[in-house]
């Protein structure tokens, strides 16, 4: 696995920074939090940061000023602004000041993640548009093509989403609830054993025999073991 990308979050609302920290950590990022613009600027001077999430309303200074100072220092790191102001003029001002993207509250965490990925990709720090390769499994999120030992697999969208999730988080144990939320949507209501059905179809298509690629963790859920993919 590549080294973890470090994201600096400058946000003074403790509950928002809390879920950002938890959520982003779960997605495999290293998260550094601060509630003050001046502290954030100082941290950026001394540390290497892949991306900055910046709230516009900070107790000690205006988020736009933080942004301006970073750009004046010649720092080109991707900046994603968060704000409650929805007006087009505010967004334009934010982007003109040097922000790379702009999200208004209340934003969706999924969308935030997608935008983070897009920004990192654009800044050449993450090659997400290329295939994910683990062992002899190759999955391309753009073309939605999957090959195993050079043979193309025909997966349903749910099976594809499950495999992508496993490939992105090798060895992590996912509960059936989490898998269901991630691949079927947060508003899907139903029995979790539907996941077992999809997993067994996926295993059949992969020709997955014990010791398996996709292992059942009894009483918990499933985990992906890449060493079996050689």
């Amino acid at each position: 696995m590549a080294e973890k990308k470090r994201i600096l979050v400058i946000e003074d609302e403790p509950v928002i920074s809390e879920f950002l920290r938890t959520g982003l950590t779960y997605e495999g990022y290293e998260v550094v939090l601060t509630g003050k613009g001046s502290e954030g600027l100082q941290y950026l001077q001394n540390n290497d940061v892949a991306l900055l999430i910046l709230d516009l309303m900070l107790p000690d200074m205006d988020g736009l000023d933080v942004c301006r100072q970073i750009r004046n220092r010649g720092d080109a790191l991707p900046i994603l602004m968060l704000t409650a102001r929805k007006e087009v003029s505010d967004r334009v001002k934010g982007l003109d000041t040097g922000a790379d993207d702009y999200m208004t509250k209340p934003f969706s965490f999924d969308e935030l993640l997608a935008r983070i990925r897009a920004l990192l990709r654009r800044f050449g720090q993450q090659n997400e548009d290329e295939s994910i390769r683990i062992g002899s499994i190759s999955l391309n999120p753009q073309t939605r093509e999957v090959t195993y030992h050079g043979v193309a697999l025909d997966l349903t969208p749910t099976e594809f989403a499950l495999l992508e999730l496993f490939l992105r988080h090798p060895r992590r144990v996912f509960t059936r609830e989490t898998l269901m939320n991630r691949v079927m949507g947060y508003d899907y209501i139903g029995e979790t054993n539907i996941i077992d059905v999809h997993i067994s179809h996926l295993r059949d298509k992969l020709g997955d025999k014990p010791p398996r690629l996709i292992r059942t963790v009894y009483g918990v859920g499933y985990a992906f073991h890449p060493e079996q993919a050689e």
Binding site: V15, F19, T22, A84, Y186
Partner: protein, 476 residues
């Protein structure tokens, strides 16, 4: 008539009224002038004829040697009568002599082209025979109108005996022509005056009402959402100018109110958005997988619980503000200030057991107030004082009696409020400190609740020394 008038525009009504008045006044003047001229001409002609006839008749009477007692013309030979008639006849004027029965005895007409004397009209003749000297009337019986004069013949001037009547008739042709010319001139003058007057009148009404039209156009624009519009006043001091400036003043007030309302709504929405963002984000993070980590579940759930509490409190405060817009929601009771404060301080000490809270008791006043609201007012002020002063300083409540009112003071010895933000502290959602604790509605609520009681609230503060909030409430 009424509905017809109501359907007309104001301008049309003004113009109609103006035209009617103009026609009436010019018409009356013209008619009077016409009548006057006619009267003058007739008087003039008849006076002239009489003046000429009088010496002729007197001479003739004395020449005939008529006795003073005679009362008829029977004794006078016809040629003598005819001589008189001929003497009295001149150009345009024909004389004839009538006996007491109205029979024409002789006529002065000599040439056939001279007009025939008109037949006597008996009503006028009788009046002449009764001794009336100056009878003049207009006779229309012939093909041409004639002016007829009757002169009674008396044996001697002033005698009551009447022998007969001399009838002089003259053509009215000349007079009628003059009158026609005069009338025509009058009509032309009236037409000119009317059209000029109506034109000027309409111009005056139009220019007077133009500003009203501007006003209504502005109203329509404002109704369309252009609140920045104003009516041009441009130094007018008449009624329309006054209306325009009153209208503009009203617009200023409305615009300010709308702006405040918009600001309030925007602030309220912003205050709602932050907890909602936290809730949504936390839920997504949980559903994405953090739910499998008990520590993360606890942490995120606690945060969500705090945000929900914050949302509920915010909604309650917003509802409170809305409720206070009408004072009908007050439940006033008799409040004994001394016992009220004793209970209140106990609660306050429970909220902040480490803090020194004291009451400088004033006289035991009773006032009519909503005790729950009064408690809420003091609690909000107490919370503010707690948050803005260091734990080792005291918070002091006190009250005193003013004429018809009671003054309650809440004093802290904390950091104080900077001068430049002091005027804004009662505005909803205003927060002086960047690390805001609440939504900034506490003091706004205090103000609304105090004002709902018919009272007032003021604040004095010195940076570094502390803050005093002064509530003045009416006793009843």
């Amino acid at each position: 008539m009424k509905t017809f008038l109501a359907r007309l525009s104001l301008k049309a009504r003004f113009n109609l009224l103006y035209a009617i008045l103009l026609v009436l006044s010019v018409g009356v003047l013209g008619w009077y002038s016409y009548w006057n001229v006619w009267h003058l001409l007739v008087e003039n002609t008849s006076a002239h004829l009489r003046a000429r006839a009088k010496p002729v008749i007197e001479h003739w009477i004395s020449a005939q040697g008529i006795a003073a007692g005679d009362s008829a013309l029977t004794g006078i030979p016809r040629p003598a009568l005819r001589a008189l008639a001929v003497d009295l006849t001149s150009r345009n004027t024909v004389a004839c002599i009538l006996d007491k029965n109205g029979h024409m005895l002789v006529s002065g007409k000599r040439l056939p082209e001279e007009p025939d004397p008109p037949a006597p009209q008996m009503a006028y003749l009788r009046r002449a025979l009764n001794g009336e000297n100056e009878i003049t009337y207009r006779d229309q019986s012939g093909e041409k109108a004639q002016l007829v004069l009757l002169i009674p013949l008396r044996p001697a001037p002033g005698s009551t005996h009447i022998l007969g009547v001399v009838q002089l008739s003259t053509s009215l042709q000349e007079i009628d022509r003059i009158l026609f010319r005069h009338g025509l001139m009058l009509l032309i003058a009236m037409a000119i005056i009317l059209s000029l007057g109506a034109g000027i009148g309409m111009w005056l009404t139009a220019s007077g009402l133009k500003d009203l039209e501007t006003l209504s156009a502005t109203c329509r624009q404002i109704a369309g959402g252009h609140f920045g519009q104003r009516v041009p006043v441009a130094g007018r001091s008449d009624e329309i100018g006054q209306l325009a400036s009153a209208f503009n003043a009203m617009l200023d007030k409305l615009e300010a109110t709308f702006a405040a309302q918009r600001r309030f709504t925007a602030n309220a929405a912003h205050e709602l958005l932050t907890p909602l963002t936290a809730l949504r984000g936390s839920l997504e993070v949980l559903l994405r997988g953090a739910q499998d980590d008990p520590a993360a579940v606890t942490r995120l759930s606690k945060g969500m619980y705090a945000e929900v509490t914050r949302l509920i409190r915010l909604c309650e405060q917003l509802l409170g503000l809305a409720r206070l817009e009408s004072s009908a929601n007050l439940r006033k009771k008799t409040v004994h200030l001394r016992s009220f404060f004793r209970t209140f301080v106990q609660q306050a000490k429970r909220l902040a057991p480490q803090r020194k809270v004291s009451v400088a008791e004033g006289p035991d006043i009773t006032l009519q107030a909503d005790p729950d609201m009064l408690q809420q007012i003091l609690l909000n002020l107490f919370t503010n004082a707690l948050n803005h002063s260091s734990p080792d300083t005291a918070i002091v409540f006190s009250w005193r009696l003013l004429p018809g009112r009671v003054e309650i003071l809440v004093r802290d010895f904390g950091s104080g409020i900077p001068k430049e933000v002091l005027p804004h502290v009662f505005e909803p959602f205003f927060s002086a400190s960047p690390e805001r604790r609440g939504a900034g509605l506490g003091l706004a609520l205090v103000k609304s609740m105090t004002e709902a009681h018919g009272g007032s609230v003021t604040i004095e503060s010195e940076e570094g020394a502390g803050t005093t909030v002064r509530i003045v409430l009416p006793l009843i």
